[in-house]
Each structure stands twice: as C-alpha cells, then as structure tokens.
C-alpha cells in the first residue's frame, strides 16, 4: 500500500497546483443533558472540524485525482480528536469500465434506519453513532458497465479498525474500547486482503443490488472474557457476507429492502431492514414536502448484545421546506418491539447566506434492558449545534 501511495504521489505531484480546492470547516457544540454514569466525561463538548478536498481532472476528464483529508479536534475526548484520509484516489474512466486506485469511499444500500449492506468502509464511530461517517478504505476498484448492469470488483488490501470514544468521551461503553489491542482471527491481521463483488442495475421502477464480501468483518465482536486493563478488546473475525438491496419507486412511494446473510466461524445469521417512504408533495398549498418513513429491522441473532435491532420498528418523518435556504428536518424513532426501549433522533439543517450552514442534531435514548447494547449510552441524551462554512 505504501508503495502504491508513493507511486501515486510521485506521478501526480506535478499536477497538485492545477486543480481546485473545496470543502468545509465547522465548529460544533454537543451538550449532554445528564451527567455520565462513568465519572470522567463532562456534559459540554465543543469541537472543530476541517475537511478540505482537492480535485483535479485531466485527459478530457477521463482521469482524475481526489485528495480529501479530515481533521477533528475535540475538547474532551482525545480519541475523538483524530485525522483521517477520507479519499486519496486516482480514477481512470473508459467507455465501458472504470479503474479506481487508492483510498476511497463507497456506499451501498437503500434504507434509512440502518445500513446493513454497506460494508466496504469502516465506520468512524467517534464522529457519529448513526454509522454514516466512514473512514477512508484503501482499494483497487474495477467497474464494468454493460447492458445487464454494472459490475464492481474490489480488492481491499488494508483493514481499518473502527474508532471508539476514549475514557473521557461520551456515547461509549463501560469500560471503553481498548482500540490499541485489537485482535484478529486472521494471522495477517490488518493486512488481510479482503475482496468484494457487486452487481447493480435499474429496471423500470426497480433498482437492484447484489453483493458479496469476503474478509475481515467491519463490526468487531466484544465479550466479557476479552478485556484488558484499558477496556474491551475488539475482535475482528473473518466473514462471508452476501447482501441484497432493492428499491421500488412508484409515484410518491419508495419501497425498500436490504437483506444480509453473514457467515463466520462463530455463527451464521440473517438480518434485514425493509419498509417504505411516502412523500406528500406541496402540503397545505405550500412548497413544503412531508415524507413518512417506516422500516422494520430484523436480526435473527438471539444475543441482543451484538445488535440492538433484532425486532424493531423505525418510524420517521422528513420535512423539506424547498425554500431558498434548503431547510430540512428528519425525525426518527426506533422502537424495540420486545421491550419499551427506544431511541429518538432529530436532524435539521438550514443554509445561511451562500456559504454557511447551521445544523442541529439531537438523540435521546430510553433503554431499560441491560442486554441492549444501547444500555451503555442510556444517559447520553444530547443536542448538537454545528455551524459550517463551505469554501
């Protein structure tokens, strides 16, 4: 990998001043409504983010380079203060194929409440617990585009460990995760070469994706037996995972389904998310759209400590004002159908002027069942305000 990066750097260094820079910087402030049950973390957490992106294309736009580092400085948690190379890749585009080399980000899937099928990139858990922030993944990605759909082949030569909050951070387990002591099933550890293949296609109202992944699981396992003086030791097993994602789009309806089947030495399980989003456009003779989202979350693993979503219902609503400031709001509730446990999520944003954006995020947890992994964060209800400037 180091050699690949060095070659990339050398061959492309001459072009570095020809392209364009964009990105954003932001300050955010999280306020936790309750004191942490774990002593160290406080209730106030200001932080700052810088996320620039460099882009340059040549050869009639058939070749391009992207460099996108990410920096966060967190006032409370040294683990949340982190740097990542989200993207550093070279792309070659031909008529019927594309080749991407380097660090990049790939998204698969259709549902809103969780992202089961999306497996290429590791989750940047210290950024957000919604699983939508990802770490850059080194890859060789060859894509073919044919009449029968798109075929993506991936070689993933280096594994990224999931980030976890430190002892001074909120939204953590107790004890915290000892990220310095990760254990791997494969003797190759982080250097295990993972591979993935995906076919995707659009047929009329239907958008389909079928994928298979072989390699190191992005989800670490934890157990009470695997613990160091600094906390839980993440164990990364080797898995085979087949994923299916389907969306049917008709009129104002989006019907969505994601299913995965995962095999490892330890177990085999099936999980799925399915549901719909229906949008009422221009309600009350205004420009406002109101979307209604319902998704059922299923996981046949009986040990609730692994997944919080074994039999849950997500209900949500999306409000889009369609105004000049692109104001929008998303409210979602995930209710465990076997208990009274639930979590509430709110995300809202609005542009200010041409370059600024104000975002609000709030999460509330109502967890009484100690078997629920969210039990650790039961007192971590928070509200976050972020002001970003785009350049």
């Amino acid at each position: 990998m180091k050699i690949t990066i060095a070659v990339l750097l050398l061959s492309l260094s001459g072009r570095l001043f020809a392209g364009e820079w964009s990105g954003y910087s932001a300050v955010d402030y999280r306020y936790f409504f309750h004191q942490s049950p774990y002593e160290e973390p406080g209730q106030h957490d200001p932080a700052a983010v810088l996320a620039p992106e460099y882009y340059h294309a040549w050869d009639n736009d058939n070749q391009s380079l992207i460099i996108a580092p990410f920096f966060r400085v967190d006032s409370q948690d040294s683990e949340r203060t982190h740097v990542d190379l989200r993207e550093f890749s070279w792309l070659k585009v031909a008529d019927e194929w594309e080749l991407k080399l380097g660090i990049s980000k790939v998204y698969w899937g259709v549902t809103e409440s969780q992202h089961l099928v999306d497996i290429i990139n590791q989750t940047d858990q210290v950024e957000n617990i919604d699983g939508e922030d990802k770490l850059g993944q080194p890859m060789i990605n060859l894509s073919f585009f044919k009449d029968w759909g798109a075929l993506d082949l991936f070689i993933l030569p280096y594994f990224r460990e999931r980030t976890f909050p430190g002892v001074d951070g909120r939204l953590r387990s107790n004890p915290p995760v000892d990220t310095d002591s990760a254990v791997y099933e494969s003797g190759a550890g982080q250097k295990h070469i993972d591979a993935a293949i995906r076919w995707s296609h659009s047929l009329g109202d239907w958008d389909l994706g079928l994928s298979h992944f072989y390699g190191t699981s992005r989800d670490p396992r934890f157990s009470a037996d695997l613990i160091s003086k600094d906390g839980f030791i993440p164990f990364y097993e080797i898995i085979n995972q087949t994923g299916l994602d389907v969306q049917m789009t008709h009129d104002s309806w989006l019907w969505k389904l994601e299913v995965i089947r995962r095999d490892s030495k330890q177990d085999t399980f099936t999980a799925s998310t399915g549901g719909f989003e229906y949008t009422f456009y221009g309600v009350f003779s205004s420009d406002t759209d109101i979307g209604v989202i319902a998704e059922y979350l299923f996981d046949d693993r009986t040990n609730g400590l692994i997944s919080p979503f074994e039999n849950d219902l997500m209900m949500g609503s999306r409000l889009t004002l369609n105004d000049e400031q692109s104001s929008e709001l998303l409210l979602g509730i995930v209710q465990d159908l076997d208990s009274s446990d639930a979590s509430w999520n709110l995300e809202a944003s609005r542009r200010i002027g041409d370059r600024w954006k104000l975002s609000l995020e709030a999460r509330f947890f109502k967890v009484g069942k100690p078997q629920n992994p969210l039990y650790f964060v039961r007192d971590d209800d928070y509200i976050q305000l972020e002001l970003a400037r785009y350049f």
Binding site: E98, Y281, D287, D354, Y390
Partner: protein, 260 residues
Amino acid sequence: MRNGLITLALLLIFLPLVQAETAEEKGLAIITEADNRDRGWQDSSADMLMTLRNKQGKESIREIRAINLEVVGDGDKGLTVFDKPRDVKGTAFLTYSHALDPDEQWIFLPALKRVKRISSSNKSGPFMGSEFAYEDISSFEIPKYSYLYLRDEVLDGQDCFVLETRPQYKHSGYTKSHLWIDKSEYRVQRIDFYDRKDSLLKIQRFADYQQYLNQYWRAHTMTMENQQNGKSTTLKWTNFKFRTGLTDKDFQKNDLKRQR
C-alpha cells in the same frame, strides 16, 4: 362517370384538409412545427447561473452544469451538477424523462457518496428554492399537453401565435399555460402559468436567443416572475455546445458518482 367517382373519392379523402382547421388542430400544428425545428441536435452541454431574488430584492445564486441527450421517440436524458451554493457542490441529478410515464430520477449525495433513486412525482415543487418548478425545466414532449390556438398577437415587436396548453401528466401545479411563439422562428417567447385555482401564478420570459448549428435556437436568459409572492428567478445560460459526442453511457447512474 368513372372519373366522377374518383373525383368524389379523392374529395372525401382530402376533405379534412380543405375544411377550416379547428383551434385544437392549429395549436397542435404550431407546436409540432416548433418541435420539428428543434429535432436532431443529438446532445448538448451548457452552464447555468441561477439568480434568486426575493421581494426585498435580496439575491442568492446557484451554479449548475448540465448535459443533455436527445432520445428519439421518448423523453430526453439529462444530468445536472451543482457547483454553488458550496454546501451542495457535487450534488448531481440524473433524469430519464418520458412523455406521460413518470420520469426516472436519481440524485447523488456527495457527503455520503450515496446514489438515491427519487420519486419524480414532485412536478410542482420548486427547483432549489427557485421560482422554477421541476416541471418548468423538464424536457418538452408533445404528448405532455393538450393544445389550443387562441390568437395572433404582437409581443415586443414580434408577430406571435398565442397557444393555450393544459398538462396531461399527473401532479402538475398548473391548470393551463399561455405560450407566445414567434411566427418567424417558432421560438417560445413567453409563458404565463395559471395555478390550480386558475389564477395567474408566474410569467416566464425568454430572451437573448442565439442560433446553433444553423438551426437550433437557445434562449440565454430566462426570467420567471411569480405574480403572487413577488419573487423572481433569472437563468443565464452560457457555454452551449452541441453534438459533443455524448452517448447513453454518459447518462448512467454510475456516472453520478464521479461528477465534480
């Protein structure tokens, strides 16, 4: 006698042509001529600067790049990418438009790298907070409307036909529109849009027409004035290019991911 019968038969066959044209027929004939004159451009690309102006005169802008592919016998394909405002930079839309069937639409969200199929039912909603609705900027196809010729009228010194159109597709925000089409080149010069309550909602004016490839006229300035809320939006088009060699391959949902 035999000749007489043939004459009668011919007369019967061609009778509809010699009869006075109805207003519907004349309307359809005018729009068909306008449509025929705009056939064969194959593909095009252009840059757009959109200026939104509120009642107080405060302005904000959007910058968009667009490529289009002419599809014979169906609606066109289009791909648009946002450059500004900065927070939506890299957001891209792909549309396969159809005459009466719903369009197929995908959006690319650059922060998540997510390509999302979206509903195309939102015909009447504002495009990026502007006074242009999605249906105002979508590809024109004859079967989308019914047509009625109203009158001849001089508009800004140009002899024009005035037509009334009524949308035949679902979810339109309009009951009808009035179109001014100039007689010399069959270009749309003005559209008055009437809302669902049949009151005048918006006036769109087309200006700075330039001809490309000795055939295709494109307005470089379009202004949409909302008569009810006092807001307006101006589109300035630049950098028109035709027959650049784009194909179906440039309008696949996978292409959305690498737009910048």
